[in-house]
Structure formats: C-alpha cells, structure tokens
C-alpha cells in the first residue's frame, strides 16, 4: 500500500471499529436488571408499545424492555428453531398463530392472577378458548382490527357495498387483493364460497369464484399498494381498517366501507413464549397491553380498536377504529379452523387460483 503509513491506517481502522463497537453493540445492549424481550412488529406497533407501555412497565416492574422486531413469520420461525433458549419472552401475533404456536410447543399459558385487566376484556375478543383450567389463558387479545374494503373515491362513482363488488368489471385489473399468504385469506375463501352458494364446509365454489378475480396487485401490507392508490392504478382494495384509516389521515385518496355481508374481525394477540425465564414479568406486560389507558392511546394514535370494555373514547376516535357499533358489523372466525386448513388452502390457491390471476 504505497504512500500509506500502516500505523496510520491501523489507527483509523481501529478507531472506526471501536466507535462502531461502542455504538452498535452498547446502544441496544441490555441494561441493568431484568429485561423483557418483546417479539413484535416494527413501525406502528413497536412505536405504540414504546410510547405507552414501556414507561408504565418500567415504572411498575423496574425491568426494561428490548425488542426483537420483524414480520410475524420470521419471528415465529426464530421461536421454532430456538426452543431450547427462546430469544423472546412475549410474542405478538394473530390468534391463528397462537393456535399454531401452542400446538408446536413454543407458546405457553398466562396466569390470570397476574392479569387482572383480563376480567374487563370483551367476550367477542377472546376468540381463543381459555387454556385448560380457569386460572390461565392462551394470551390476551390487545386489539381488534377488521378486514374491509377500501376504495379511491376520486375514481369510483358507486361506492362498493359488498364483498361481491370485488368481481365487478370496473375493478378488473384495478384491484389490490390479499396475497394467498395473508392472514385474512381463509376468511376470504369462505366468504367467496358463500357468495357462490357454498359454505365453510363446502369451499370448492369459493376457490372457483376467487379464480375469476383479476387483481393488479397482491398485498400483505398496505404499503404494498398505497402508491398505486395514489396514482389511480388501484381503485379497490381489501385491507385492514386501521391501515385504511392511517391512509386517510396521511391524505391518500381513500375511503372505506364495511361490506354488507359483514367485515372480518381480527383480534390481535400477545402471548407468552414457552420456556421464558420471565413468566411473571411477561404476565405484567400482557396486563398492561389490555390496560384501559394503553388501549385508549393505541386506539387514538394507531386506530387499533380497544378490547377492554372500560375504555372510553370520544365519538371522533370511535369513528376511526373497530369499536362500538362497528363491532356488530364484524364476523369472527375460528382461529383453530384457520390454523388447520391454512397449509392445504394456500396450496390450492397457489395451484388452482393464482395462475388465473396472471391474465389481466
């Protein structure tokens, strides 16, 4: 290396590495005392926990919180592979994933005696049957979100009213539709089956009907299609209400309706990882997730509906999340059924349905 003093080079490299070490490893390092590791989604959910749960949690327990963030699938696989020494204490997921996780032996019961707030949780929210015994639960439903129809009011003249509108010719190639791997997919298969004269136990007509759809974009998150709504390339979409409300707040051209056949209600759960060394801390965290104050903040800031019946929201806030009257307009499906049928149904979608979607 001509012209470089090696000592100089080493000094620069050394201080750079030391700086990176100090910054990269010390900043997120686990602080003194006990730490509860929360496995959750980044963005809205992590921000909500950081702002409203973490301060309360640290004050009441003296422990701190660390976050393992990522999509549900990636985090679930981490738990599966690291059963012997779980990388997290608390797991955020859909109710279906709690069913699957308990069956796989990676999630465990929570003791109700440490979760007094559970007594105030609405009955419709507890889609998971209680764990064996009256003293425990499989997890707590900390919010209710709903899968609905969103549309671009600048481009759509007659606002959609039914799931059946997805098949209208005007939305051909202008539709953002749930990907086969979307958590709502089994529900959409059943709804399509019902529209075509089938039912939850006779889903063949549903697959046939879905094959007639012409989506322009398959989505898992609203961010997959939001720019297309803005450009007018997508005019109708299936999406969660709190995402649609977020879009409205951020001035995307969007409006949304609960279909007349009812929307799909999804309680989101937080549960405890089997083998955790912080069982009681985890239960304290679960209790805080369904605390009325915390739930109110989640509802007001992120439009995720509260599940605690003691939460009092203003009318304006009520109109923006799944709560009050909207709950009556939602259907709740059995997560046990979803967990059971998902592998086979995803495969049928891939093989029988998706190839037809290629034609635009």
């Amino acid at each position: 290396m001509t012209g470089i003093s090696r000592r100089e080079a080493l000094k620069v490299a050394g201080s750079a590495a030391a700086g990176a070490l100090a910054g990269g490893l010390a900043l997120p390092a686990i602080a003194r005392g006990q730490t509860l590791t929360v496995s959750t989604w980044g963005g809205i959910t992590q921000d909500g926990i950081k702002a409203h749960v973490q301060p309360l949690f640290e004050k009441t327990t003296g422990a701190s919180i660390a976050y393992d963030i990522g999509g549900q699938g990636a985090r679930y696989n981490k738990l599966l592979a690291q059963r012997a020494s779980p990388p997290a204490d608390v797991f955020f997921s859909t109710d279906e994933a709690v069913v699957a996780g308990r069956k796989a032996g990676i999630l465990t019961d929570a003791s109700l005696k440490n979760i007094p707030n559970f007594a105030d949780v609405a009955k419709w929210a507890t889609t998971l049957k209680a764990a064996p015994g009256d003293e425990t639960v499989a997890g707590v439903p900390y919010t209710l979100i709903a899968y609905l129809l969103g549309y671009n009011p600048d481009k759509v003249k007659d606002k959609p009213t039914s799931w059946g509108d997805l098949w209208k010719p005007e939305f051909k190639g202008k539709l953002a539709f749930a990907s086969p791997v979307h958590s709502a997919m089994p529900a959409l298969v059943i709804i399509a089956a019902e529209l075509a004269g089938g039912s939850a136990t006779n889903v063949d007509p549903g697959f046939k009907k879905l094959a007639a759809l012409r989506p322009a974009k398959l989505t898992v998150f609203w961010t997959d299609w939001a720019p297309l709504d803005k450009s007018g390339d997508v005019t109708l979409a299936t999406e969660f209400d709190y995402y649609l409300q977020t879009m409205e707040e951020e001035k995307y051209p969007i409006a949304y309706v609960v279909p007349k056949e009812k929307g799909i209600g999804y309680p989101e759960y937080t549960s405890i990882v089997k083998g955790t060394k912080n069982q009681e801390l985890a239960e304290a965290f679960l209790n805080l997730m369904i605390d009325p104050k915390v739930q109110e903040a989640f509802a007001v800031e992120t439009f995720q509906g509260p599940t605690n019946t003691k939460v009092k929201l203003s009318d304006a806030a009520m109109a923006k999340c799944s709560c009050g009257a909207r709950v009556e307009q939602l259907r709740f499906f059995d997560p046990e059924l979803f967990a059971r049928v998902r592998p086979a149904w995803t495969e049928r979608l891939n093989i029988e349905v998706v190839p037809n979607w290629r034609a635009r």
Binding site: N77, G232, N356
Partner: protein, 297 residues
C-alpha cells in the same frame, strides 16, 4: 473453470504456464476459504438437504423420502415459477452486461478524480439497499405516476401498465445489478495493457478491429465473472419481484419465502432451495463452458 482459467488460454497471457515452483503451498492458502465454506455453508446445506426429505403439512410419508421433490416437479405451477426465475435472471444479465460494458469502457476514459466520483455515484443506489430504490420505481412506474401520466394525458402513449409485470422487475434488477457489472468490467478492462492498443494501431487496426481483436477477447474473463455475478444476484433477488412483480408472478425466492414465512413449511422450502441450487450450478457450469469455448476456438 474460472475467469482466470479462460484468461490463461488467451494468446497474450503474460507468462508461460507451469513454469515456477509453488512458493506457498496452495492448500495452505486455500484452507481459510474452504474452512469458512465447509462450516458455514456446508453444514447449513446438510441441514437443508435433510430437511428437504421430511414430511410436512401437505405430504405425509415415512422419512427420509424424495416425495417433496416429486410433488414440486409434478406441478406445472412450480415449474412455471422455476422458468420465470431463470428467465428474469437471464433477461437482466443480457441487458446489464452490455450496458455495463459500454459504461466501463467510457468511464475508463475519464480522469482519476472524475472517474472515482462517477464510480462511487453508481454505488449509491445499491448502498441504500434494494428496498429504497424499489420504492422509487413503485412511485415512478405506475400509469398515474410522474413518468407516464403526462404522456398518457397528452395522448402520446397508451397506458403502458408496466407495474406488476416482469418488465418492471427486469428494469429494477438491471438498475440494481448495473453497478456490480460496471465495477467488475472496469476492473477487467484496466488489466489490459495500454501498449497493446498502440501495437494494434501500429499494425493498422482501426478502433473497431482493435476492439474486436484486442479488447473484447482480453476482457472475456471479466465478462464471465460479470455474467455469473449478475445472474446470481438477479436469480436470488427478493425485493424487486415482491414489490414490482405482478399478482401471480412468484419467483423461486419469493416462493421459498412464502413456504417459510407463511405456511411454516420448511421441508418444501428446503426442497425448492436444493432445486434452485442444482439448477444454478448447472447454469454456472454451462456459462463457464460457453466462455471457455469462445476463448479457445
């Protein structure tokens, strides 16, 4: 079988082959890389291979068995996915390599400071990661986006409907792989001694003949390296097909991600991965063979 192998066959090779003794034992110098490979690639590969022989939510059989492979190979849907993956990678390579070649040739003519800046600037889009750049394409490519909306409005073009097609994916992949192609080819081209051009010119060769008879043959090892790098980057990309691809346009990587992340079917994911690996090795061998023949007429 490598780029340098091809180079060794080029008439101007700098030195006669197999002349000197081995200074340091070849084996010793190869040990670190091979050890790294065996431990951190070989062992995970064994885990993958074993997993691929296991039953799962879709197929029940007594392990170990090849049923997962049979299933995947027996469905047109999955063969389609394989075909699309390789077609996307091939298209990307066929576009990125010539574009990168011309760019590298032109950048070679720039002086040090400007050339350095030009090269660094090319790495910006890849430094920010594929996600950010793909977001840019998501904003630019829709019919209602800033690129096409004015043209459509003025009646100059019909709505191109690029987003959600393989074209959009290839556009983004070419953009992502281009910097790698330019940098590799630039490195290869600067290895060609300048006095060769003078010699060619002295012998009466024009710029075109000089290129065909000097530059191109001598740069072939670099072209081979670029083809392999571009092809593998494109075939293993996840972000572009996920965000810019169409409603039904899965590739092997997005399919594997589905198996792992959504249906927790790691045996199927593992079997797909092994299939991809075997096909990729076949492609690499074929491409290398093709170049070797090109260099050794």
């Amino acid at each position: 079988m490598t780029g340098s192998d091809a180079a060794a066959a080029v008439p101007y090779a700098g030195q006669p082959a197999r002349r000197r003794r081995t200074h340091w034992p070849t084996v010793l110098l190869l040990t670190p890389s091979l050890a790294l490979l065996v431990v951190f690639l070989g062992v995970p590969l064994i885990v993958i291979a074993v997993t691929s022989l296991e039953p799962n939510a879709l197929l029940t059989f007594k392990p170990p068995g090849l049923q997962n492979y049979g299933y995947l190979a027996g469905h047109a849907y999955y063969l389609d996915v394989v075909g699309r993956t390789f077609a996307l990678a091939a298209d990307t390579t066929l576009l990125a390599v010539p574009l990168g070649y011309i760019t590298a040739m032109l950048l070679r003519g720039l002086s040090g400071g400007v050339g350095n800046l030009a090269m660094i600037a090319l790495t910006f889009p890849i430094l920010t990661g594929p996600l950010v750049v793909v977001l840019g394409w998501m904003a630019l490519l829709p019919d209602g986006g800033p690129l096409f909306a004015p043209l459509i409005h003025a009646g100059l073009i019909a709505p191109p409907r690029l987003l959600g097609t393989d074209i959009a994916v290839v556009v983004s992949l070419v953009q992502f792989t281009l910097p790698f192609a330019v940098l590799t080819l630039y490195t290869a081209l600067r290895e060609i001694p300048g006095n060769l051009y003078e010699a060619a010119a002295n012998l009466g060769a024009g710029p075109v003949r000089g290129f065909v008879h000097v530059t191109l043959p001598l740069s072939l090892p670099g072209v081979l390296a670029t083809v392999i790098i571009t092809f593998s980057l494109a075939a293993s990309s996840y972000v572009a097909p996920h965000y810019l691809g169409g409603a039904a346009e899965l590739t092997l990587t997005t399919l594997i991600a589905e198996f792992i992340l959504a249906t927790y079917n790691s045996p199927f994911a593992a079997a797909s991965a092994v299939m991809l690996l075997i096909l990729m090795i076949a492609v690499v061998l074929a491409v290398t063979q093709f170049f070797a023949r090109l260099i050794r007429p």
